[in-house]
């Protein structure tokens, strides 16, 4: 599967069908810090992403405001 990441923008390829929670653990990303997007939908941690699919892990953090 393809995993799109930001800050900086990059693409990671992982093999096999995986649950979202396993993908996040492997990439060392806290679930609280991203939206997991597949197409036009959000995906919960228990769902499986198939080997031929693409997901985006969109960071939710904004800040620096005083």
């Amino acid at each position: 599967m393809k995993v799109l990441l930001r800050n900086p923008r990059r693409e990671v390829t992982l093999a096999g069908n995986r649950r979202v929670k396993e993908i996040l653990r492997e990439l060392e990303i806290l679930p609280e810090t991203v939206l997991v997007i597949r197409g036009d939908d959000l995906v919960t941690a228990d769902q499986v992403v198939r080997d031929d699919e693409t997901i985006e892990l969109r960071p939710v953090m904004s800040g620096g405001r005083a």
């Binding site: 930001r6 800050n7 806290l30 679930p31 609280e32 810090t33 991203v34 939206l35 997007i37 939908d41 959000l42 995906v43 919960t44 941690a45 228990d46 769902q47 969109r58 960071p59 939710v60 953090m61 904004s62 800040g63 620096g64 405001r65 005083a66």
Partner: protein, 309 residues
């Protein structure tokens, strides 16, 4: 995972609430949280016009979206910070949103008001960019609201923003900052408008999810000056705590608001007066904004002086 409300397939899990929701029920949950914030803190009424400060990011556009759907009379305010392509893109997002919803958007440029854009202010002051930026934003929001006769400014600060600010204040025991940390700050002077944060009950991930599900086109890339900001480091620490113990950020902020904040409130706030130069409210003779503008002017003059290059 099933939606807590309808039992259908869930699209978002909220561990701190030990719940999951489908898209429609999450949007309703989100709106309910905003309604509760407005009601609990009497932020504004349906008879008042609200100035919504928008940055083009997920939080402020989500806020504006909810307030419009709730039928509030709102005007947007975009402050152009002059931060290269980031400001060009974020302004375009705000203008597109306002145009799509058919609502008024005011635009002011920091460079016109201070004398230089945020990147130059950063160089002149030799302080973190968020410092001059935040000062300018607070000043211009208040001034714009006053100029247009709007009694209240609403900003998109979320639960994570508020918890990170509280964490920073506590880490340095800035006790003078603690009473000011509130979802709603009343007007304490005729030239100070009310300031409210209707998203304070919602986490950053929840506002991002709302913006995504509502198909709001927001700027995803972060401000280039945010990298390395102290508030970001504090958010990362709090997110690790949240991962280990869901609800940690909520408990930290809400515990403070309910139990600790009253202990830091003083009978009398700082003595307020009007700035001798611009007439805006300050605690000293000349306000911090005018001092900043002076500093920028002096730096520009010395850069233009013969032999300066």
């Amino acid at each position: 995972m099933k939606c807590r409300r309808c039992g259908g397939a869930a699209t978002l899990e909220l561990r701190r609430h030990n719940a999951a929701f489908c898209a429609d029920d999450f949007v309703e949950f989100f709106r309910n949280q905003v309604r509760e914030a407005i009601r609990r803190h009497r932020m504004f009424t349906r008879d008042e016009r609200v100035l919504v400060a928008v940055s083009g990011g997920k939080d402020s556009l989500a806020l504006w979206d909810v307030l419009l759907d709730e039928g509030y009379d709102t005007t947007g305010l975009y402050l152009d910070l002059g931060i290269f392509e980031y400001s060009v893109e974020s302004r375009a997002k705000c203008e597109a949103f306002a145009s799509r919803r058919g609502v008024p958007l005011l635009v002011r440029r920091v460079a016109d008001e201070v004398g230089a854009p945020v990147p130059v202010i950063k160089l002149v002051t030799r302080r973190p960019p968020c410092s001059g930026c935040g000062l300018s934003k607070r000043y211009l929001m208040n001034q714009t609201a006053l100029d247009h006769g709007l009694p209240v400014v609403a900003t998109g600060h979320n639960l994570d923003d508020e918890a990170a600010t509280l964490f920073g204040s506590v880490m340095h025991w800035r006790t003078e900052a603690l009473p000011r940390q509130s979802p709603a700050l009343a007007s304490t002077h005729p030239k100070l408008v009310r300031r409210v944060k209707p998203l304070y009950r919602l986490s950053e991930r929840e506002t991002a999810a709302y913006a995504f599900l509502r198909r709001i086109d927001y700027i995803v890339d972060e401000c280039p000056f945010a990298a390395g900001a102290t508030s970001i480091a504090h958010k990362e620490i709090l997110n690790r705590m949240e991962d280990a113990s869901p609800g940690a950020k909520h408990n930290f902020l809400f515990g403070f608001l309910e139990k600790a904040r009253p202990a830091f409130e003083r009978a009398e706030g700082p003595a307020l007066q009007e700035c001798a130069r611009c007439g805006q409210v300050t605690t000293s003779t000349v306000c911090a904004f005018c001092k900043l503008a002076d500093q920028v002017k002096r730096a520009s003059a010395s850069a233009d002086a013969p032999g300066a290059h």
